[in-house]
């Protein structure tokens, strides 16, 4: 196990960090899988409203096993519950919300993010059966497009790169990246390092990043409570 593996944040802790930036009353879409964990760490006293592509605003966590209603699911086809103030609507209205820029934040996973904000997260390229879902709509239109991701691939390759080699989901769309090691903003075609784990040096972090990390003033410590 490398040093990185001993210090890096778990997915739950990355999700916790992302949740801290969600304002009270924000309208939020969370991608299927890992990004969905963000909802669990909603900051006390804030009431974000979660949107799912298949036509629900204001849903809550999964029901108890056995209580599922298969007409009440999210975009990941998982059973959900409703909170007071929820609303149902059809798919065209749902994507009017998305494409019309009405979502405050969309949080997605990523294969690669380029320093100009290009995102690749839908296709591993030739060979696989293509399947895009709503990702291309979400990344082009939400006010903030955030990514939650390991800092590097399972093979240790950088996911933050100068230019994506994989098929793009969207062009110049990502605004903030929460990784297992750092928080990075995309601004003016560059990666701005905002926070990093205190356990890793800037040079070691740069070595794990495929494009230049810019710093402006101090880089804050990325501090996340132990959630395990």
């Amino acid at each position: 196990m490398s040093t990185i593996d001993t210090i890096k944040l778990s997915n739950a802790r990355i999700a916790w960090r992302a949740a801290q930036d969600i304002e009270d009353g924000a309208y939020v879409n969370l991608g299927i899988g890992f990004p969905e964990m963000v909802a669990q760490y909603t900051v006390e006293g804030r009431t974000p409203v979660f949107h799912t592509e298949n036509g629900v605003l204001g849903f809550g966590p999964a029901p108890a096993k056995g209580d599922e209603d298969w007409d009440l699911i999210n975009a990941g086809k998982k059973a959900i519950t409703l909170k007071p103030g929820a609303a149902f609507f059809h798919h065209a209205d749902s994507f009017a919300m998305v494409r019309g820029g009405h979502l405050d934040v969309a949080i997605l996973g990523a294969f690669q993010i380029a320093e100009n904000g290009d995102l690749a997260n839908w296709s591993i390229g030739k060979g696989a059966i293509p399947a895009v879902g709503g990702a291309m709509d979400l990344v082009q239109s939400a006010k903030r497009v955030a990514v939650v991701t390991d800092h590097v691939t399972k093979k240790g390759q950088p996911k933050l790169v100068q230019r994506c080699s994989m098929p793009l989901t969207g062009v110049a769309c990502v605004t903030r990246i929460y990784t297992s090691l750092a928080v990075v903003d995309v601004e003016g075609g560059r990666f701005l390092l905002r926070e990093k784990l205190p356990e890793i040096s800037f040079d070691d972090l740069q070595a794990l990043t495929g494009a230049e990390l810019i710093t402006q003033g101090d880089v804050a410590d990325l501090v996340v409570p132990d959630l395990d």
């Binding site: 309208y27 609507f89 919300m97 998305v98 009405h102």
Partner: protein
Amino acid sequence: MDKTVSTLADAVADIHDGATVMIGGFGGSGAPIELIHALIDNKPMGLTVINNNAGNGHVGIAAMIENGLVAKMICSFPRSSNPVAFTEAYNAGKVALEVVPQGTLVERIRAAGAGIPAFYTATSYGTELAEGKPVEEFDGKCYVRERWLKADFALIKAQQGDTFGNLTYRMAGRNFNPIMAMAATRTIAQVSAFVEPGTIDPEHVITPGIFVDTMVEVPNPAQEETLIRDGVVYP
């Protein structure tokens, strides 16, 4: 999260000189008369107003025109049973007019709300209202390209509203209101009855709260037709 404010004056306080303002309603049906009158009290000038019509009698949009707030009307039908306010201002060169076919008007507004910068419609092809607009043939038929229509503010009228901004409407008073709610930077709703979240069945929500920014309760809204029959002149 609570999108309610307590007074009409608070609701419209940010509407500034030169703003583009969508106003819901079709004639008096679904027209947010109380919000309009609160806006007249503030007297912002040089407004561009988007509505299906251009006011009737001496209340609502007609009163906005008579009080000098309106620089331009974008509408489909600037006539009414008593169109004197608009007619006089237009003939005096005080108010500009852009006439848009009714279906194109609402689709341009919906396009703004749905992130569609332009679309094609057969409506108005070959007429003077299509002059200067790009034309293209699809499947052997000619269509006119129309652009989205956005606004800084939308003033709308709803029936029930919860604190999250979920809204219902009353009969044909629905008309342009839910579409305008989607298309403005800030949507301000007058609501006949505030209710707690969860009161409106999620199946019956017409405008989900994501489209609504500010709400004020107006429990017994006036009907434009009644005001006109009573000869009311605002203010």
